[in-house]
């Protein structure tokens, strides 16, 4: 499965949101209703799913769906 598709599935699962809301420029906090603890859990789920490590200072920069996809794509290059 492509990373962007996998990412959408993780976000749908973790934030319990409808799939059609998870568009590239959606903000986790403003559009998808995440709070700070949701974000920690979401990053953790990404680390698990893609078998990567995302340091806290990098995690803080991931605020939209596209940010997340780009970040993981870069790591996987």
């Amino acid at each position: 499965m492509a990373i962007d598709q996998q990412m959408v599935d993780i976000i749908v699962e973790q934030l319990s949101v409808e799939k059609d809301k998870v568009v590239p420029n959606a903000s986790f906090v403003d559009d998808l209703g995440a709070d700070s603890l949701d974000l920690v859990e979401l990053i953790m789920a990404m680390e698990e799913e893609f078998d990567v490590e995302i340091p806290d200072e990098e995690a803080e920069k991931i605020s939209t769906v596209q940010n997340a996809i780009d970040y993981v794509n870069n790591l996987k290059k």
């Binding site: 319990s16 603890l37 953790m44």
Partner: protein, 414 residues
């Protein structure tokens, strides 16, 4: 100024006998057992394979998916029962009154299942994989916290953790909060859910649980000569307590009036009561004094009645100490014979049953009472509910650590 009076105006139940007050109460009056085999985990290696699980709870009816995911079961039960109680009371919590509505709940342990889960994660995957929601799912005041968030109640928000007496102490302190004037209404009761490997294994290690695995429905048999321990149960019993004038002003239905509360300690042992039930007896007397009632004014007792050899014998002794000759006139029942022992939720549930008993003038039965043991020689309303006059009634709870709680309610009259 005369003492502020406190009445029960709402009841909400999530129990092994059903979600919803009507369903549970009907089963209680019909003498139905909620005990069966444990379904939550594989019990092959466990001495105890039976429990009273909540069977019909549908989180979707109460919570959004994400909300439910971040609440351990005891919190879900507590919030659901509280919402049912508030709906039942018809109390509208709004800008005008919200700071005068409190929430005081009881819980014996907290989120043991979520503690187990995260401990496993920590061991298998390392500390970085512990969920950020672990702590706020596990701590014992999360029912009161979430109830406040969901109902908008902004008054005193407390959670008591006094083992198997927690629900009773919560209701007692809620009563006090209203009498004292800190609140005009309080959502109160208990919530618990620890039917998980550590919960069942831990109580089993104490030899506190019945091992009658071959006959689950007959395993909880308070006061019977063949009783061999309690049945671990889960769920929640919540009520809305309200200052009398506040309730009358909005034409609320009144189930019963709360009139007395006692709290005492045995100063004796971590788990066992003293043989004469001295601490429990003092607690019952304290509640009678608080209510300004005499022993002969009480018609019914909802006993702690856990079905352990020690409790039922000592509680009977304590009742005799306090009530003297009147003890033989009392109707006494243990609803734990049907619900099992909901631990920190039991007192909340049984206080709700007390209010229902007074409202409906019916004493629930003690089921599975085939042959009382010789030292249990009072009237335990064996096997069949009894329609009777109940002017005033008492509910007892005793917890590990030697802590005791007793409530008294009476029929509401102007």
């Amino acid at each position: 100024m005369s003492k502020r009076r406190v009445v029960v105006t709402g009841v909400g139940l999530v129990t092994p006998l059903g979600t919803g007050t009507e369903k549970t109460w009907r089963n209680i009056c019909d003498g139905v057992s909620g005990v069966s085999y444990i379904t939550r985990f594989d019990t092959s290696d466990y001495a105890v394979q039976i429990a009273a699980e909540v069977k019909d709870f549908e989180p979707d009816l109460f919570f959004e998916k994400k909300q439910a995911k971040h609440m351990d079961l005891f919190v879900q039960y507590g919030v659901a029962a509280a919402r049912l109680a508030v709906d039942d009371s018809g109390l509208v919590i709004d800008e005008a009154n919200c700071t005068r509505v409190g929430v005081i709940t009881g819980c014996g342990i907290g989120g043991l299942p979520v503690i187990e889960k995260n401990h496993k994660t920590c061991l298998n995957k390392g500390p970085k994989r512990i969920s950020p929601f672990f702590i706020p799912m596990a701590i014992p005041n999360m029912p009161s916290g979430h109830i406040s968030m969901q109902t908008g109640a902004k008054g005193p928000n407390l959670a008591l953790s006094t083992a198997c007496a927690a629900g009773t102490h919560a209701v007692g302190e809620a009563f006090r909060s209203i009498v004292y004037g800190s609140s005009d209404a309080v959502i109160t009761g208990g919530a618990e859910s620890v039917i998980c490997p550590l919960g069942v294994g831990g109580f089993a290690a104490m030899k506190a649980l019945s091992t009658r695995n071959e006959a689950p429905e007959q395993a909880s048999r308070p006061f019977d000569k063949d009783r061999d321990g309690f049945i671990i149960a889960e769920g929640s019993g919540m009520m809305v307590l309200e200052e009398l004038d506040h309730a009358l002003a909005r034409g609320a239905r009144i189930y019963a009036e709360v009139v007395g509360y006692g709290a005492s300690s045995d100063a004796y042992h971590i788990a066992a009561p003293p043989e004469n039930g001295e601490g429990g007896a003092r607690c019952m007397q304290m509640a009678l004094d608080d209510a300004g009632l005499k022993p002969a004014d009480i018609d019914y007792i909802n006993a702690h009645g856990t079905s352990t050899p020690l409790n039922d014998r000592c509680e009977t002794q304590a009742i005799k100490t306090v009530f003297g000759e009147h003890a033989a006139q009392l109707a006494i029942s243990s609803t734990k014979s049907m619900t099992g022992h909901m631990l920190g939720a039991a007192g909340g549930l049984e206080a709700a049953f007390l209010a229902m008993s007074i409202h409906d003038q019916i004493a629930p039965p003690t089921i599975n009472l085939s042959e009382p043991s010789p030292e249990c020689d009072l009237d335990y309303v064996p096997n069949q509910a009894r329609s009777m006059e109940i002017r005033a009634a008492m509910s007892n709870s005793f917890g590990f650590g030697g802590t005791n709680g007793v409530l008294i309610m009476r029929r509401y009259q102007d």
